[in-house]
């Protein structure tokens, strides 16, 4: 089954302690961060996280006046050996798809690694990955790990 995963993207000002405040807020609500990436400039950053319950997470952030939104991303299975990631990227590149960003998903004991991947054309990317025998995980499958 090929499905996308809902990532929460959060706008953060680049000030001392801000990241700690936001993660603290999520901790207080019992929201577990399963994967994250932080992209930043000198002024601000965008924190991207994968959590078990995106809706609850979004609601918690909005109540605190934090700007956040849901972004649909792919959770791609990668063979945990040299060349695993390269094969995925080569397939996407050959199809003319652009990877906007990607980051690793933290999981425990499994044969395959997982990367969270944002592409410009998600539907097309899912088709390409399927044709190349590369698996993606649904939100439920990810949650069950």
């Amino acid at each position: 089954m090929h499905m996308s995963v809902r990532q929460i993207s959060i706008f953060l000002q680049n000030t001392k302690g801000r990241l700690a405040e936001v993660t603290g807020l999520l901790a207080a609500r019992g929201i577990n961060i399963r994967a994250l990436s932080l992209a930043d400039t000198a002024d601000f950053g965008v924190l991207r996280i994968i959590v078990g319950d995106p809706d609850a997470c979004l609601a918690a952030l909005k109540t605190s006046g934090i700007i956040a939104q849901v972004t649909e991303v792919l959770a791609v299975e990668i063979e945990d050996k040299p060349g695993g990631l390269s094969r995925v990227l080569a397939a996407l590149d050959a199809a003319g798809l652009n990877v906007e960003y990607m980051y690793a998903y933290v999981e425990k004991t499994r044969d395959n690694a997982i990367v969270i991947c944002k592409v410009d054309d998600r539907q097309h990317a899912m088709r390409v990955l399927e044709e190349n025998g590369i698996g993606t995980l649904s939100a439920d499958a990810l949650k069950a790990l």
Partner: protein, 432 residues
Amino acid sequence: MIWNPDFEALSRPAMTRLQGERLGRLVDVLYRRVPFYCAKMQDRGVRPQDVQGVCDIRKLPFTTKDEMRDVYPYGLLAVGLPDIVEIHTSSGTTGKPVVDAYTRADIEVWAEVMARTLAAGGTTRHDIVQNAYGYGLFTGGLGVHYGARKIGATVIPISGGNTKRQLAILRDFKSTVLTCTPSYSLYLAEAAREEGLDLGTVGLKAGFFGAEPWSQSMREEIQDTLHALAIDIYGLTEIIGPGVAAECEHQDGLHICEDHFYPEIIDPATGDVLPDGEKGELVITTLTKEGTPLLRYRTRDITYLDRSPCVCGRTTARMHRVLGRTDDMLIIRGVNVFPSQIEEIILKVDGVEPHYQLVVERRDQLDELEVQVEMTEKMFSDEIRGLEKMEHTMEANLYASLNIHTRVKLVEPKSIARSEGKAKRIIDKRLL
């Protein structure tokens, strides 16, 4: 609706004649009763008989805010204290306050010009006016109060602040008219959203906003949010308070109550009177005031005049929405910049709200202007590139219009201090 067509739609020759007569009487009174003005006129070698018509106003001296402070508190009184029925003062945040003392007739004029103001935006005796201007020494609260009472509308004198109660009153009493500063109206709307109340559905039909400069984009934002006409009103404590000028429903310049307040535009550097249509400092003479009349008061507000008749039927001179202040003006690397110009430009980017702040610093002898803009849900995108592009677009637009390099910085919502009165837009860290 035109409250008083006899004066608001007077022909130009009749208005000029009326202004001339009133100016003559005023000069006579000031010369005889106010030593401050007698001395100033003597310094310039002008006697009351030299003023035969309103065109002679150029012979008369200006009055500045500093001069008003020098003669604080009673130095400008043109009547005895027993004839004064009410006193207001400015906040005095930048020095000694300036004093406005009203006789009974002055209060009647105030009610009249505020009735004109409120009627010009459509207020009638059927309206419920939620007056969120501060009551007290500040002229906003009582000025609106007197005008609304004169019209016969229902006034709710809630005064400024206490946002939760403002929202409860709006919802429960179904106020149809809101009066407050423009930034506070947006603050109210934001607070309403947080409480799950859509201000667009409470039935407001008009808002009368003044006491701080705002822009056309901010007006559109307010009108979209409140689903009500946003009318710009103008006034200042020194002259009378609100009621000096106001837009009509066509929103094409503010009609000045010229039969009471004679307007001129001058070059702030030379004091020369400028022709209609040219930008400069607004100067006002109080033609009918009894308590503390002023000759050619320099408002420090930058605008221009249009004396062509308006489609609404009024013939009074219109002033363009205040473009800035001669003292609010920032000089960045020699370029004059008003916060209102910056606001106009940044609001053109989709989703941007008028929550911004200007920070000026001097590094290596060069001025640097940082424009902090609060992020909104509508502006946010997951991609850094898109957000940086938004900053760069605003920087490029600012450069194209103002010819200055700025640094636009997106900041988190609510990180810029909200005010319930005048918004603080500028932080100048330069040690000049």
